[in-house]
Amino acid sequence: MLDPRIDEALRTMLPRLRRFALWLARDSNAADDLVQSTIERALSKWHTRRDDESLRGWLFAILYRLFLDGKRRASRYARLLGSLAHEEPTWPSAERVAMAHATLSAFAGLSVEQRSLLIWITVEGMSYQEVADILQVPIGTVMSRLSRARRTLRQLGDGDTQTPSLRLLK
């Protein structure tokens, strides 16, 4: 594929990538950095992509792994400094308003994998097999984790009293 065609294909995926990154990182600056790293990685690894592989799944997998790697590094770094200081995420104003919504604040309280599962499956409408490929687990595992995610979201959205402790546990 020619470079301009690749760029165009990636460009159409940008809004989805940015939305996913924002709900992973829960910080708009970190999200943009994450998307940029994802595009860089995608450009340099384009030749390794299988033709039958969905571009969306491939990009989500790259972004997801970059985020987890970054998180591991950050927590190692934080341990190194012996600090557990928590930085306040910087949300874009539209999302700050939206956070007032019970479902969204419950959603923000889910674990990284649970948020990813729900975005991939309910928002992006990806197939369970695609998600299983990204997470590299059997499809049955995706099903049981999806049940857990949906139950937790319900609990957090309804009860709300358990939110703080659950947040600490994740």
Binding site: D3, P4, I6, D7, L10, R11, L14, P15, R18, R19, L22, W23, D32, V35, Q36, I39, E40, L43, S44, P92, A94, E95, A98, H101, T103, L104, F107, L118, I119, I121, T122, V123, G125, S127, Y128, I139, G140, M143, S144, L146, S147, R150, R151, L153, R154, G157
Partner: protein
């Protein structure tokens, strides 16, 4: 009528709208008879719809994330990295070449300083403390080839008016060195000094230098370093020239 409960996969597929007509009907019939589970599944459906609506918002433009721009920036970074690597390599090469060229320069490392020390030690006392004292050139040749190396050439300086007086061995970092002292019968002494180049194979370009009243001419030949040392006066210079003309 009893029905087996639908699989977890079918429940989720029902929530996500992935089921075809007949199987959707099965799930719906099952849920109709199990209100508690129906409540949960309808809650999931509601959550999914809400998430779709709430997360659908546009994030606004982000021109910095355009793939063409990122591609260009990555290319630029690659160029800079290559240029940096090339510059570093160049620095290393220049440093290496300069260092190689400058080898031997510096304190205590002047070429054939040992030859001048040997001359100072022996010639100024006119041959006191020699290992072998003989005017016979073939004896001296045999002595040299046994101690320093068979390929060492001892110059015949009879034509230049110099006759050998004898020789002495010296231990150097590079191995055994030998000096043969010549005399012209008029109080002028010239030394002929030979030393192996050592494990570093440090051979010398032809050259001359003066230091504290002594003149050394040096060169390399046949895998050995040679020097001719004399007093740095007119007579010494002239004698050196004659000796070198014969030796090289």
């Amino acid at each position: 009528m009893t029905t087996t409960p639908p699989s977890e996969h079918d429940i989720h597929a029902y929530v996500d709208g992935h089921l075809d007509g007949p199987r959707r009907g099965e799930v719906e019939r099952y849920l109709a008879r199990h209100p508690e589970q129906a409540d949960e599944v309808h809650g999931w459906r509601q959550d999914a719809q809400q998430l779709r609506t709430l997360l659908a918002g546009d994030l606004g433009p982000a021109p910095a994330l355009d793939p063409a721009l990122i591609r260009e920036r990555a290319r630029h970074r690659r160029v800079v990295r290559w240029a940096t690597a090339a510059a570093l390599l160049l620095c290393l090469m220049v440093g290496g070449i300069a260092g190689w060229a400058a080898r031997g320069i510096g304190s205590g490392n002047a070429p054939m300083a040992d030859a001048m020390q040997a001359y100072r030690l022996l010639a100024l006392d006119h041959g006191v403390g020699m290992d072998i004292t003989t005017g016979n050139e073939s004896d001296l040749r045999a002595w040299l080839s046994g101690r320093v190396g068979t390929t060492v050439r001892l110059p015949d300086l009879a034509d230049a008016g110099f006759r050998p007086m004898g020789g002495r061995l010296f231990a150097t970092d590079q191995g055994p060195a030998a000096m043969v002292l010549y005399d012209d019968g008029n109080g002028h002494t010239v030394s002929f000094y030979v030393r192996p180049p050592g494990p570093a194979r440090r051979l010398l370009p032809r050259g001359a230098r003066e230091e504290s009243g002594l003149l050394a001419n040096y060169w390399s030949d046949g895998g050995h370093n040679y020097a001719v040392v004399a007093m740095a006066d007119n007579a010494g210079r002239e004698a050196s020239q004659r000796v070198i003309g014969k030796a090289i």
